[in-house]
């Protein structure tokens, strides 16, 4: 039996370039886009980030 664990949510906007630069997060040597969240979604969930 195959059970789905996770699948990407539909995004209203793609390719907007608003995402944070990958190297700013933690490691400065091996950060990857896989560790990143969509900045648009993050801001929608945290409206104060739109200040």
């Amino acid at each position: 039996m195959i059970k789905t664990i996770a699948t990407p949510r539909d995004k209203k906007v793609t390719g907007c370039g608003e995402c944070r630069s990958t190297c700013q997060s933690a490691c400065k040597t091996s950060c990857t886009v896989g560790n990143q969240s969509c900045e648009r979604i993050t801001r929608e969930q945290n409206p104060e980030k739109n200040d």
């Binding site: 039996m1 195959i2 059970k3 789905t4 664990i5 996770a6 699948t7 990407p8 949510r9 995004k11 906007v13 793609t14 390719g15 370039g17 608003e18 995402c19 944070r20 630069s21 990958t22 190297c23 700013q24 997060s25 933690a26 490691c27 400065k28 040597t29 091996s30 950060c31 990857t32 886009v33 896989g34 560790n35 990143q36 969240s37 969509c38 900045e39 979604i41 993050t42 200040d51």
Partner: protein, 440 residues
């Protein structure tokens, strides 16, 4: 393509086309591995085979398995959105593994003047186009040796940013040696993120991270970092360690950090050519096993309500970045740049001081178009050997600087880095599955 992998008694299928992760039983995993990745087909009953094929068809029809990969265009923009300001090329530690030549970047030790830093801010605002949120990280050397400059630059950026309709997010990376109450207060007010260097166990940290007098720095920084983290509230920080060939049992260092109250941790493989520290091919089996050990202990901690955030296990399959970003890599040399103390601009901090990558100077305000185009055209699709790798949409073909420094070509990934990356991704997927199922 699909990637079928086992994590001990758990079995997973990751579909690169849809970005979906599925869990299955061992028979299904063995069957799919044999059918899609080659190998021996397991002996299964006709009924089991029909069941698997029906599941696969259902998921395929729903766009969750065996989906064709879309060759999405990388994000290409003329906007500059982030700068790494090397606020000083000097350091109050002499860490053996430092890729920045113990802070000096293979040149004379130097401090960035306030004027240069403010000119860099002007450069960023001027070249940021329609982008509203801009990022600046203060890097070194050791940035806290220049705290007054940082304070003035932050105030300037806030003021100029407001005039131009821009919001700044600041980050500082520090060894915490000068992290006093004043710096803590400032960081908590102004820094979106703070990265604090601490390698883990005292003996591991002290073996590498020494003061200019040659003494270990652990006892000098641990109390300060704890105090800072206690004061940080819900704001972002990372306690960031480096592991080398001398502590391949680095899961102990991550757990040591967690047990000392740090709940946001990163532990990175060293980037060095120093023989007794460098990660080599013969270390890989032990490192991959160590990531599994860390993953198991990490989940045990979560189960006990003592969970923490380990940077590399955060594989965000649901709310992660869009496909355009996934194929675009980090943006170094195109939308993200490093500025060294004299105002010279490089593609990123790992290229700083390498004259063939000098792109301009903030006082001239221009970027070398040929070098920028070279970096802008880098994407997953220019990386060699990534086409058939399951991790491609998560790592984007790796770090241009690491690729270049290890293989001589920005578009040729370094196999040792790839091995570690793939294992971390599998662990991250296992963590995601266990957290979602509420098990272990």
């Amino acid at each position: 393509m699909i990637h079928v992998f086992d994590y001990k008694d758990a079995h997973y299928i990751y579909d690169t086309g849809s970005g979906s992760l599925h869990e299955c039983d061992k028979d299904t995993a063995d069957y799919l591995k044999a059918k899609y990745e080659g190998g021996t087909m397991p002996k299964l009953s006709a009924e089991k085979t029909r069941e698997i094929e029906a599941d696969v068809k259902s998921l395929q029809d729903g766009g969750l398995l065996l989906c064709p990969e879309v060759k999405t265009a990388p994000i290409k923009s003329d906007e500059v959105k982030a700068l790494c300001l090397h606020i000083c090329h000097d350091c109050n530690l002499r860490c053996r593994y430092c890729f920045a030549d113990e802070g000096a970047y293979h040149a004379e030790r130097a401090f960035m003047s306030e004027r240069t830093a403010k000119t860099a801010i002007d450069f960023l605002i001027k070249n940021s186009g329609n982008r509203k949120v801009l990022e600046v990280d203060f890097f070194g050397g050791e940035p806290l040796m220049c705290l007054d400059t940082i304070k003035n630059v932050v105030a300037y950026a806030r003021e100029e940013g407001a005039k131009a309709g821009k919001k700044f997010l600041f980050t500082t990376t520090t060894n915490a040696l000068l992290l006093d109450d004043d710096a803590i207060d400032f960081f908590n007010r102004e820094m979106e993120n703070v990265v604090l260097s601490l390698d883990g166990r005292k003996e591991v940290h002290d073996a590498i991270r020494k003061t200019v007098n040659g003494k270990g720095s652990f006892d000098l920084v641990i109390g300060k970092i704890k105090k800072f983290v206690r004061s940080r509230g819900d704001k972002n920080y990372y306690v960031r360690g480096t592991f080398t060939a001398r502590n391949l049992d680095f899961s102990k260092d991550v757990l040591f950090l967690a047990e000392n109250g740090f709940d946001s941790i990163s532990m990175e493989p060293v980037v060095t050519e120093i023989d007794d520290l460098a990660i080599k091919e013969e270390h890989i089996p032990e490192i991959l096993s160590e990531y599994e050990t860390l993953c198991d202990r990490y989940l045990e901690k979560h189960e006990k309500g003592e969970g923490f955030n380990f940077f590399h296990f955060n594989v965000d399959l649901e709310g992660g970045v869009c496909l355009h970003k996934k194929v675009s890599a980090c943006g170094a040399g195109n939308e993200y740049f490093s500025v060294v103390p004299n105002g010279d601009i490089y593609p990123c901090h790992q290229f700083a001081g390498e004259k063939e990558f000098l792109m301009g100077n903030v006082y001239e305000g221009k970027l070398d178009p040929a070098i920028r185009e070279k970096f802008a055209s880098n994407s997953l699709f220019t990386r060699k050997g990534c086409e058939n790798c399951f991790a491609k949409f998560i790592c984007s073909g790796g770090c241009s600087a690491n690729n270049y420094h290890y293989t001589g070509d920005m578009n040729t990934p370094y196999p040792i880095t790839c091995d570690m990356m793939k294992k971390r991704i599998e662990c991250g997927m296992h963590v995601l599955a266990r957290k979602k199922s509420g098990q272990k």
